[in-house]
């Protein structure tokens, strides 16, 4: 069992607060991704878990054992570094076996584990070479093999794919996912690449300014962001946001956006009614709107500004009442610039956001 418990952990560098009061529980053998823009504190949090750079406050436990004040070598963890941090003066074999040797594992076991790890990463033929003459992809494999050979309960990865070129990154992403499925370790994976996060993680913790904004399964994070930041950070294109005015009359509440009145579902009625002020923000993803050529009572008329055919879909930039929206449509729908289209906003796809807190009011 290697559940990771992060309790009220804080860390600052001088005046700059990197992580503030973060609470996070990572279940045994879970693949947790820490996702966020650069400077959000995700690497600092990972390093706090690793023990590289002591947390200023809070408590960290791994497998029920408090490791807050333990050096990294005693936390039963292993790690893949962003720069790989391979020891340049050692052969690949010695690199992979380094941790085992330091932990006084007996020689025959070390040899066996090195060979297993090398086989898993297809670097058997590199074992007796030095890293200086290797490509980035090969070094990356050595770094992963070194981490896996430890057979630690916790595997930490700090942007392991960020130094690879695009094609290799795609290939390694799938391979890592396959590989880590077979490794019995709780994994914490730091990345700023949302595709990596969504495709690999069991859960994704989205971070911003040292705080975790949302920690959920990839689909949930994508479909039901808890706030405006998560909606705008995840997804390509990001979620659309439209400012609306609340109309309260006779106990009935509606929202007017771009001169169109949206009726509300029973769950959201009271929430929006109780909002202070008259403003509310509508959030919706590009692929969740229905595009029609003919108007219906539920549709909003929009003017097409840009058409971007992307193969699997056409991405339209449309304008309505001074707002701009990104709408994705089926590639077979023929649309021209300056054409008028009619868009329907399905009520269950709309996320209403409190404009003062930026939190999503209700997620189905």
């Amino acid at each position: 069992m290697a559940e990771i418990l992060v309790e009220r952990v804080a860390k600052s560098f001088g005046d700059k607060v990197a992580v503030k009061d973060v609470n996070l529980t990572i279940k045994d053998r879970e693949f947790m991704v820490l996702l966020g823009p650069s400077g959000c504190g995700k690497t600092t949090l990972l390093r706090a878990i690793a023990g590289l750079g002591m947390a200023d406050a809070g408590r960290i436990a791994i497998g029920g054992r408090d490791v807050t004040y333990q050096p990294p070598g005693q936390r039963n963890i292993s790690m893949v570094f962003q720069s790989y941090a391979i020891f340049p003066h050692m052969t690949v074999r010695d690199n992979i076996g380094f941790g085992l040797k330091m932990n006084k594992v007996d020689k025959s076991t070390i040899r066996k584990r090195i060979e297993e790890a090398a086989e898993l990463l297809h670097i058997e033929e590199l074992l007796d070479r030095r890293p200086s003459a290797m490509s980035g992809g090969q070094r990356q494999r050595v770094a992963v093999a070194r981490a896996i050979a430890m057979q630690a309960k916790v595997l930490l990865m700090d942007e392991p794919l960020s130094n690879l070129d695009a094609l290799l990154r795609l290939e390694m992403r799938a391979e890592l996912k396959r590989l880590l499925a077979d490794v019995d370790a709780t994994t914490v994976y730091v990345t700023h690449d949302q595709i990596e996060a969504l495709s690999m993680g069991d859960r994704v913790a989205v971070m911003r300014d040292g705080e975790i904004q949302q920690c959920d399964a990839p689909n949930t994070v994508y479909e039901s962001p808890t706030n405006r930041f998560v909606g705008s950070f995840i997804g390509n294109p990001p979620m659309n946001f439209l400012e609306g005015n609340i109309k309260r009359s006779n106990g009935q509440t509606a929202v007017e956006v771009a001169k169109h009145e949206f009726s509300l579902t029973p769950e959201t009625q009271s929430l929006i009614h109780d909002l202070p002020g008259n403003k509310v923000t509508l959030g919706i993803r590009a692929e969740n709107m229905e595009t029609l050529l003919q108007p219906t009572p539920e549709t909003v008329a929009v003017n097409v500004e840009v058409v971007e055919p992307l193969g699997a879909q056409n991405l339209l930039t449309v304008s309505v009442g001074g707002h701009r929206l990104k709408v994705s449509t089926h590639p077979t729908l023929e649309v021209a610039t300056d054409q008028v289209l009619h868009i329907r906003f399905p009520a269950n796809q709309i996320r209403w956001i409190d404009p003062t807190t930026n939190n999503v009011l209700y997620t189905p």
Binding site: M79, A85, I86, F87, H89, F98, R146
Partner: protein, 435 residues
């Protein structure tokens, strides 16, 4: 060129003797073809003499002839003007300053002697004869010239007896009273020689100087390497007061070696700091003389202390630079994979520092081979001596540039040898090329 020429010049000074041989010539002029070259001291038989152009007016051994330009009536009654040696003229009239104005031709004495005296166009015996004068003829002296005597010499000792006879100017010869024998006393022509190197090796200070230099090397370098590594690791550990350590460690670089020597002299001297401290603690009664000819061991201790104090930080700076080139993540990875501090130093830091350590060792060894001012300040340069000091002694005290140069070249040779030794024994390029 700027870098090579002085080295070439030093090499030439060591192996080439500028003034080893005297060329002797076919005819008694500098333009005469050289028939042989004779080393200094060659014994000679002298067979003839001529007055000729002046070659070396300042020499102690210079022998000169005076020649007069005279005017008079020749044997054939015509008016003659030409040069004749002073030996043939008796001066009868001088001006106030002693310049000869007029005289008569001396008569020749002895049987069968030519009664006439030849007058030459130029002031030397090989120039053409313009006419002859009767003995006792009156002449006016219009000019006088001083000429150097050249001797026709034949090597007379066994070693050079085969050499041909030829002419040499008197200034390079020492001749006997009757000018029948002599030897070569000066030379103008060079030859390659090992005699300066021989003289260096035979010098009574050479052995002690070499021994002391190497002993200091063996005593100083390991201490400094360990100290410099420790200091660099302290600075790299990023603990509090870190930059304070750096300044304290690095400050001695700013002091000249002579000043450092004098400083340690003042510590070790009779009423210096060390004696005061030991006396104050009651360890000794009265001052102990550390720096005397009877206590060369203590002088060595003082030299080692001064050198360690002064020059360890040079190694430290190089090693700190090497440490900073090791990426933080590499050390973190080692820590994360369970290496404690000493294991990190042993398995990661030291192997990655190899190139820096190599540079530091080479540089420091070369500097240690040149150790000079500290030794002179602490020992006066006689009781304990080192190679650089001998080079200076040969140059400054004994005025022997060639032997001084031989010492300098010997130090260079040791430096190159030590650099090659380090490069081979700490072979590392392939292993630690940074990734």
């Amino acid at each position: 060129m700027f870098f090579l020429y002085p080295m070439y010049e030093g090499f030439v000074l060591t192996v080439y003797d500028d003034d080893a041989l005297l060329p002797i010539r076919e005819s008694p002029t500098l333009s005469g073809a050289t028939v042989a070259k004779l080393p200094l001291g060659t014994e000679l038989e002298i067979n003839d003499r001529r007055s000729q152009e002046m070659v070396n007016a300042g020499s102690d051994d210079l022998i000169t002839d005076q020649w007069f330009q005279v005017e008079g009536t020749g044997v054939d009654g015509s008016l003659l003007r030409g040069w004749v040696t002073e030996a043939r003229i008796r001066v009868r009239e001088e001006d106030a300053s002693g310049q000869p104005l007029a005289g008569t031709v001396r008569p020749r004495l002895g049987e069968g002697a030519d009664p006439l005296t030849k007058i030459h166009a130029e002031p030397n015996e090989t120039s053409s004869v313009v006419g002859q004068l009767e003995q006792r003829a009156t002449v006016t002296i219009t000019q006088s010239a001083e000429l150097e005597v050249w001797f026709l010499v034949q090597p007379a000792d066994d070693m050079n007896s085969g050499a041909a006879a030829g002419w040499a100017p008197s200034s390079y010869l020492r001749v006997s009273e009757d000018a029948s024998r002599g030897w070569v006393s000066g030379a103008t022509s060079g030859e390659f020689t090992t005699k300066f190197i021989q003289r260096m090796v035979d010098d009574r200070f050479f052995g002690p100087a070499l021994r002391t230099t190497l002993l200091l090397l063996v005593l100083i370098i390991p201490v400094q390497l360990v100290l410099a590594l420790a200091m660099a690791l302290v600075i790299h550990a990023r603990i509090r007061l870190n930059s304070g350590f750096l300044y304290v460690f690095a400050l001695p670089i700013g002091m000249s070696d002579l000043a450092a020597g004098i400083l340690f002299f003042s510590i070790f001297t009779g009423n210096g700091l060390l004696n005061s401290a030991l006396d104050g603690l009651g360890i000794i009664d009265g001052p102990f003389a550390f720096l005397t000819a009877e206590t060369t061991g203590w002088i060595l201790v003082a030299i080692v202390a001064a050198e360690v104090w002064r020059a360890t930080s040079i190694m430290m700076v190089i090693i700190v630079a090497g440490l900073q080139a090791i990426p933080d993540e590499t050390l973190e990875a080692a820590e994360l994979f369970g290496a404690n501090y000493f294991q990190r130093v042993r398995h990661i830091i030291l192997p990655l520092l190899k190139p820096s350590i190599q540079v530091a060792l080479i540089l420091r060894t070369i500097l240690a081979l040149q150790v000079f001012a500290v030794v002179v300040a602490l020992s006066g340069g006689d009781v304990v001596t080192v190679l650089a000091n001998e080079s200076f002694r040969q140059y400054a005290d004994l005025r022997n540039t060639n032997v001084a140069s031989a010492y300098a070249l010997f130090i260079l040779l040791l430096s190159v040898a030590s650099a090659v030794f380090y490069l081979r024994s700490v072979r590392s390029e392939a292993e630690v090329r940074p990734t």
